[in-house]
Symmetry: C2
Subunit: 436 residues, 2 copies
């Protein structure tokens, strides 16, 4: 094969235009069918899939038998073959080079349970639906970044190693750090606010966040990708709602435009571009809707997962919308740094965004006034000393500001109608899983 390196590699997806030509392809073997005199291979690369037919040579007896999943390079002639289901063509191989022979049998099959699929991710990732999910993720993030670039946002990379917790201490991972303890950031919250105090008026970050929660649900991972933004000089959290609906609609439109047909074909899901404005209800209204549906929420200041599903179902029935903003959470349900309503200091200028019953965003206007922020921390009974590095961000002038955190996997899970974040995550991390 080295001798034929002069043939540039042809993408499999483009072979239709090369009928009658000799081409070189390279890919992974999806399936093998052995007949008496010929062998059929289904070979896949990033661009498509093709049937390869290969005459068995007398010398083949001495060869190690070819196995499914192996990485191969093939030279041969492309010929029209209307009877072949894969694109109505086939490649008649005259040279084949095995770059990596897959062990056999494979440890998983298409029907293996999710945890097995995760155990052998290098195999399950090859499934077309999994390739599609990663392509959708790439397009979604690229469209988000395109929107941010157009709106003048600055990208930051905030540290994940911290001297203190960014949310509650209970679910912070501790790291041995040169004879003392560091903690893994549960969110970039403090640092995007620091950037705002530092004069960057619009910031975003996409990066890992860590939560040491011993929970096993379809929506929690100990490590997840968090999409964060923060904006200065807002009037209230309403500005953030308008911003998020415009940003999300743009990102979802990009996914629909680029992958809509494939998502429908492979996942059976119709991607709807949400119309703006998204429906909005206050937490007080949300509680009434959920109770009227016959479910008693566990708390009066927050929604439980069942309450979130019922609220979304009600909104879908009433407004035909897959999204709903829940606003004005009681202060008791939110962190101390959320901005309160002037006339109702028991309520925060905050919101969650639910998408098909799943909480995908938490956001708020933040308290930017040093004295008020300090008082709100004291009201919670917090010691100020561990918070001082954070409080200092607001001591030397800070504009009014607010922002949000969006869970990437939850967004993909809701968008693609999957049952668990683990179906849309490259490599899952749970209390019992650190591999592969």
């Amino acid at each position: 094969m080295e001798s034929d390196i002069s043939y540039p590699r042809s993408p499999i997806g483009a072979l239709r235009g090369r009928i009658g030509e000799r081409v070189r392809i390279a890919g992974l073997i999806d399936a093998i069918r052995d007949h008496k005199r010929v062998q059929f291979l289904v070979v896949r690369d990033a661009s498509g899939v093709v049937q390869v037919v290969r005459e068995k040579m007398p010398g083949d007896a001495g060869e190690e038998p070819l196995t499914a999943c192996s990485a191969v390079e093939i030279i041969g002639a492309v010929r029209d073959a209307p009877s072949v289901r894969l694109g109505g063509l086939e490649l008649a191989a005259d040279e084949l080079r095995v770059h990596s022979l897959a062990a056999s049998p494979l440890p998983i099959a298409a029907a293996s349970v999710l945890e097995k699929q995760i155990d052998h991710r290098q195999i399950s990732l090859r499934r077309p639906d999994q390739q599609l999910i990663l392509a959708v993720q790439t397009t979604l993030e690229h469209a988000m970044r395109h929107w941010w670039a157009r709106e003048g946002f600055t990208e930051i990379h905030s540290p994940k190693l911290m001297a203190t917790f960014s949310e509650s201490g209970a679910d912070a991972f501790a790291v041995k750090y040169f004879g003392r303890s560091a903690f893994l950031a549960q969110s970039p919250q403090f640092y995007k606010q620091m950037a705002i105090a530092g004069g960057i008026e619009k910031v975003f970050e996409i990066g890992p966040a860590f939560r040491a929660e011993p929970s096993f649900t379809a929506r929690h991972e100990t490590e997840f990708t968090s999409i964060d933004m923060e904006v200065a000089w807002i009037e209230t959290h309403d500005d953030l709602l308008r911003l998020e609906e415009e940003w999300l609609a743009a990102a979802i439109a990009a996914v629909a435009g680029r992958h809509g047909a494939e998502i429908a074909a492979l996942l059976g899901v119709e991607i709807a571009i949400p119309t703006s404005p998204f429906p909005r209800v206050t937490m007080e209204e949300a509680q009434a809707i959920v109770r009227a549906s016959g479910h008693m929420p566990a708390k009066t200041d927050d929604l439980d997962p069942e309450g979130e599903r019922r609220l979304s179902a009600h909104i879908a029935d009433t407004f035909g919308h897959e999204f709903v903003f829940v606003t004005d959470y009681p202060a008791t349900a939110r962190p101390f740094y959320h901005h309160r309503h002037d006339a109702r200091p028991d309520l925060t200028r905050s919101f969650d965004l639910l998408f098909r019953g799943i909480e995908v965003t938490t956001g708020a206007q933040r308290e930017h006034r040093y004295d008020v922020l300090r008082a709100q921390a004291l009201e919670r009974g917090y010691a100020l000393e561990p918070l001082q590095s954070y409080l200092d961000f607001f001591r030397y002038g800070c504009p009014p500001h607010g922002g949000m955190g969006v869970g990437l996997a939850r967004l993909l899970m809701a968008l693609l109608h999957r049952q668990s974040v683990r179906e849309v995550t490259l490599l899952s991390r749970s209390p019992t899983r650190l591999t592969p």
Copy 2:
């Protein structure tokens, strides 16, 4: 001021077009000069800076005095003022609202040492050179992503919590993980290779990496942003060199185009778009060049920092180029998973990229053949059991592939002629620094 909310906020940079109009601006106070009857404020927002003149009112005596760094909103008339150095205009304020009064005095001044500037990052970040550096970073990454999107790369987010080390065990941070130990990823190396085995032919990731090295140099941080890519079906590492020079030239061209003039004005640096091909030398040649310059490298299979500087100086003198690829490192200087030369198994198909004397990239073709990879691990004396999860990536078929890791801060440091990665990092992390 609430009453005048109807004035939309005007970007300060656009006031030249609003002469004679009444406008509302919002920003941070850069400086204050008090005269007998008037007060001059220099106010900055993300778009520019303006002088504001404000008549002192009889009631002002009772007011808390305005301080530098405070966040303010101002309504007033824009007037032409050719004598004013800041853009030849000024804003005559008639309403001022202080959103956040900065404490005084400030804990740092422009002349404070770097460590002090980092201690009070919310203040030092406001310096125009620091705002520019973050804008350059944003543009640089956006251009890289644009190139990747055009070339069909897939974005991944690989886990930072691992059951084992990704490089050497010596500098891995340990995390308490539900009664056992996890380790923080030193690079996404293993997982981008898993994605390749999983059929994704071109992947990239920008994310944090962690090294528990107790070193204090201008080029090391315990946490840094790593830019990684990996590509399937390469012939040799030469393909990666060609890819990187095209990608870097595109990213640097975007920075030059968008920020070139401001970089020249604020940092005194001329951004040169590198011409391709970049000069290439083998490690053997590099050693000879460095020795001929009168420096004895500490090792014969690698370059020390002084050697890197001398090699880059030689290349700049000889070829007028700021970059140089050093290729073909001896196997002794590289990880076990680097691919060897067929005819010279003591040499790897590897490279580093030096930029103005600083190593900014390490890359290689990887060994994709399970048996060879296993043998190379054994040759190093490694126990196979902790590596098995990694080795398994190559058991079920994997294409030939290779990739690289690029240090974002090192790249910015070299590009902008800074003395330390800490000058181009949002928040530094060193063995003695976890705050702010």
